[in-house]
């Protein structure tokens, strides 16, 4: 006699719905893109509501802290009647200019330091030292050396970005997986080939990310540079407004800086995602 397959005669049990349980593990669980946007916008709303509440309650005098509405009005006014877009343009130009000069030198230098240990031993101690020199402290010296023109603004941003960027790139390149480098050598690549076809493409997404972060650093330096001896730019508008006690203009200026920074950040992120789709795979 043949053994019947187990439970062959029983009717197939209908799948029982498992009651929705509260997830027990909440750490590191990703959120959906929609929810992410929603949560991000929500905090802006909370922040503005808090700001509004402080000003509306009269707890802080209006000439110390302008209300959100007043800031928005003065922002509109700045663009509509005071040609503020020119100041924003000047500031963006300075940040991008100083940042690009820094990047053009820092990227190859950082790659050379990461790839060749003697080059690293030669430059690394000095660059690490220079990284801690506050760029803003050089402003009086730079005014002496190059005057108060554009060269001074660019120099401040350059000093602020260059050393930081060089070190970051050197570290990224030095962190390339050794086994990939070895694999390339065993496939017949020479030093130049390994740099061009392994170190560079492997480090590229992280270098792009370092550039994004350091560009943000450039924004903090440009305003400092413009606070002294500038006749245009967002920083210049802020110093002018300080003399007039126009806090709404100062805040509007700060908000514009934040928005421009946010946009450049987003652009950078999108560009990185497009250029290095492989780095997003898990």
């Amino acid at each position: 006699m043949q053994a019947a397959p187990l439970h062959a005669d029983e009717p197939a049990a209908a799948p029982v719905a498992v009651p929705a349980d509260k997830p027990r593990m909440k750490l590191l669980v990703p959120v959906s893109p929609r929810r992410r946007v929603w949560l991000g916008v929500a905090f802006f709303a909370v922040f503005i509501a808090f700001w509004w509440a402080i000003t509306a309650s009269g707890w802080v005098p209006p000439h110390f802290l302008a209300s959100p509405w007043k800031t928005l009005q003065s922002g509109y006014d700045l663009f509509a009647t005071q040609n503020f877009i020119r100041d924003v343009g000047m500031t963006v130009w300075r940040v991008v200019g100083g940042f690009l000069i820094a990047a053009v030198i820092a990227v190859p230098l950082g790659i050379a330091m990461g790839a060749y240990k003697p080059v690293e031993a030669f430059f690394e101690p000095f660059v690490s030292f220079a990284r801690y020199l506050p760029a803003s402290a050089f402003i009086p010296l730079l005014i002496l050396w190059v005057g108060i023109g554009e060269a001074q603004k660019l120099s401040v941003i350059f000093l602020g970005c260059f050393f930081q960027l060089t070190l970051m790139i050197a570290m990224i390149v030095a962190g390339t997986r050794r086994d990939l480098v070895e694999a390339a050598y065993t496939l017949g690549a020479k030093d130049r080939g390994v740099i061009r076809r392994v170190l560079l493409p492997g480090a590229a997404p992280e270098i792009a990310e370092a550039l994004r972060q350091v560009l943000g650093l450039g924004w903090t330096y440009v305003i400092v540079a413009e606070l002294i001896g500038a006749s245009s730019g967002i920083g210049h508008m802020i110093t002018d407004s300080q003399a007039l006690m126009a806090t709404e203009n100062i805040i509007a200026g700060i908000v514009v800086i934040g928005l421009v920074g946010l946009c450049s950040d987003l652009l950078f992120k999108k560009a990185n995602q497009r250029m290095f789709p492989w780095s997003l795979l898990r």
Partner: protein
């Protein structure tokens, strides 16, 4: 004439921070003939991978000499293809471009690169995956691409360092059959490092058994099983006899290694 000649090759790594230097490999001699499939079998940490890295040119020997076709080797080169235990496909290149890496480095025309890569993609059974990135593949598939990438360069010898060590058992067995099939049809010269006794016997025509660290070759066992080999050979009396013998050899070394 032997294709690869390892003559009294030893390796001692200098000690770090005043510690005593470590001898990884006692002077070892091994001759690999054309079309040989030699497996190097030994317990973990016995220096068998060091020997492979020396042949690959990724390390320089402290003593002795390594000759390939009578020429001493200097550093790594395309004449020795290497497949590593870790997954070493370039994550930014597709399967096809990974396989073409060495060909492009030689300056081969693109059309020829494509032709060769397509042949090897077919041989390792990855048609349809040409444009996938390594992270989209399973471990076994990645190692198949790594084998194809090494073979595409048409090396004089293929060096494999526990290439299937990280794979699950079923996949590993399939990979062994795949590699053996490639060897049976292409008759490459292969040096294959492993700690798996079945794997060592199944693919090899000679097994070099390593002692515990510092490594030396304590036995050189010929495997005269017929080709083509099918997985069922693993249950044959000849296979079992070899396995019993190698198990004894390795067991003594593993005990020695554990006592250190």
């Amino acid at each position: 004439m032997s294709r690869l000649s390892i003559r009294q090759v030893g390796k001692t790594f200098p000690g770090n921070r005043g510690k005593a230097p470590t001898q990884a490999l006692q002077p070892v001699s091994l001759d690999v003939a054309d079309n040989d499939f030699i497996t190097v079998l030994g317990p973990s940490g016995c220096g068998k991978s060091t020997l492979l890295r020396l042949v690959a040119g990724l390390e320089t020997p402290s003593t002795g000499q390594i000759l390939l076709d009578g020429e001493p080797i200097h550093g790594p080169g395309a004449d020795r293809g290497v497949v590593f235990q870790s997954y070493t496909l370039f994550p930014w290149l597709t399967v096809q471009k990974n396989i073409c890496f060495g060909l492009r480095e030689k300056g081969m025309p693109a059309a020829q690169q494509k032709e060769i890569s397509e042949r090897f993609i077919a041989q390792v059974g990855l048609r349809g995956f040409e444009d996938h990135f390594p992270k989209q593949l399973s471990g076994g598939m990645q190692q198949r691409v790594a084998i194809a990438r090494a073979l595409a360069n048409d090396p004089k010898i293929l060096l494999l360092d526990e290439p299937f060590g990280a794979l699950d058992n079923q996949t590993r067995v399939l990979m062994q059959e795949l590699l053996l099939g490639i060897w049976e049809s292409a008759r490459k010269t292969v040096l294959f490092v492993t700690h798996d006794i079945d794997e060592a016997i199944f693919m090899a025509n000679r097994v070099a058994v390593f002692s515990a660290r510092p490594g030396r070759i304590k036995a050189d066992v010929a495997v005269d099983l017929p080709h083509p080999r099918h997985y069922t050979i693993k249950t044959s009396p000849e296979f079992m006899g070899l396995k019993a013998r190698l198990t004894e050899e390795i067991r003594a070394e593993s005990i020695a290694a554990a006592a250190h």
